[in-house]
Amino acid sequence: MTGTGALRSIAVVGASLAGLAAVRALRGQGYDGEIVAIGAERHEPYDRPPLSKDFLTGRCAAADLALGDPDEDLAVDWRLGATAVRLDAHDRGITLADGTEIRADAVVLATGARARQLPGTGGLAGVHTLRTLDDAVALRADLAAAERLVVIGAGFIGAEVASSARSLGLDVTVVEALPVPLAGPLGVEMGTVCAGLHADHGVRLLTGTGVARLLGSERVTAVELADGTLLPADVVVVGVGAQPNVEWLAGSGLELAGGVVTDAAGATKLPGVVATGDCAVSFSPYTRRVTRTEHWTHAHEQPAAAVATLLGGTVDNPRREYAPAPYFWSDQYGVRIQFAGHRTDGDAVRIIEGHPDDRSFLALYERDGQFVAALAMNQPKLFTRWRRQLRVPAAAPALMTPGVSA
């Protein structure tokens, strides 16, 4: 693969946040050849975060979720409702589910992730996961006629669904297998603070509790916990994480390890193929780890780096690593939670503003006397100032490059 000039056609697989950002970056970085964007969902690219928040409560409508801008002319051949089922490494041919073959000089993989299911819960009405607009429409309709909701999993999406359902007047119970929700991303101390929001709003949180099974013949009637407790439920939401949509790439020659493995600039093992967003497992110069990041800002920003890699890294448009500190937000019970950086066990947490009991504070995480992450509740201004101070640690080791030269 040589510079931009050699590329006449580029296929973007996955037409959501990262896919659209890749299309915009292609045009923004001067690529003027053909772009085919393939998306399994029949909807034009839309924004997922509101699905568990304002869309679920009815405060915004489907039209408000559009990511695209009608005034923007990206000259893209959109293939929506089309699922890619195979990628041929040799000629970068993509086969769609209906048998159509698409040949491209280069490919951007942006197939994201899907909700993980709880084994043995399929086919029972009233049981939902939440990843897509269609999921959200179905859940919203079901919640409208329900009184009791059980949410399985107290991660961010589970907590947001609980919050939204509570604001709609439902009786809500959240069941979490871990002793402390969100202890992974936030640590035990701050995970406990965030989990406290449920009790503030009259939502029961049961932690350290596994789910044995769901009861009901056609429609779910209750959740049975591992200790035998029965939680009556009209609706159950399973929020137990997401898994990457990469099975279709098996046999393509790409390295798959819980996602498509890339370096910090989006390059995969195959020349002319980059991966970005929730489907990519990338080396992060910031955390110095290879991780699959499942946050909006990453899927929004990282594609520009992957596209620069694809376009060949010219003097005007150099190859670049995506290196900023990870960032995400979550809105629960009217409280805005923001986190930036990377936490590991043993980090010290220091509150420098406000108090957790007031649900308004800023906490800094420190390691070896260095500031490594920040968490805020309802402190956007102060948080923004601290977030900007998070930089790639000075002694970052050389880039991990899985067999690709740029």
């Binding site: 915004c60 604001s167 709609l168 800002t297 009217g334 923004t384």
Partner: protein, 123 residues
């Protein structure tokens, strides 16, 4: 109508002041001494631009980093699509005066989340 809002000395250069009218207005005092007023609520979703990051004549939203030009309200970086409404500002005898625009504001979808109204429905 022109309103006296606050003394300019109350807004250090590089900072912003959130004026609690309906809808709220953000008044920015740039590092090089200029003063601008725009609607405080981001046109994308619910965030206060006065909480954002000011650089030159541009503010970056604290939630998803949309950028707006303070002079024109134009979107310089997505996800926002619609410009933010601007208001005329004048500093008279050290006091910031704002003339509110009569154009319709570009508010984000849904009622602005100002308080616990969102969460108290269950009680």
């Amino acid at each position: 109508m022109t309103h006296p809002v606050c003394p300019l000395s109350a807004i250090p250069p590089g900072e912003a002041y959130r004026w609690a009218v309906e809808p709220p207005v953000a008044i920015f005092h740039t590092e090089d001494g200029q003063v601008f007023a725009i609607d405080d609520t981001c046109t994308h979703q619910d965030a206060s631009l006065a909480d954002g990051w000011l650089e030159g004549c541009e503010v970056e939203c604290p939630l998803h980093a949309s950028k707006f030009d303070l002079r024109t309200g134009r979107v310089d970086a997505p996800p926002a699509k619609r410009p933010v409404r601007t208001h005329a500002v004048e500093v008279v005898d050290g006091v910031v005066h704002v003339t509110l625009s009569t154009e319709a504001p570009n508010l984000p979808p849904g009622p602005a989340v100002a308080d616990s109204a969102l969460t108290d429905g269950a009680k």
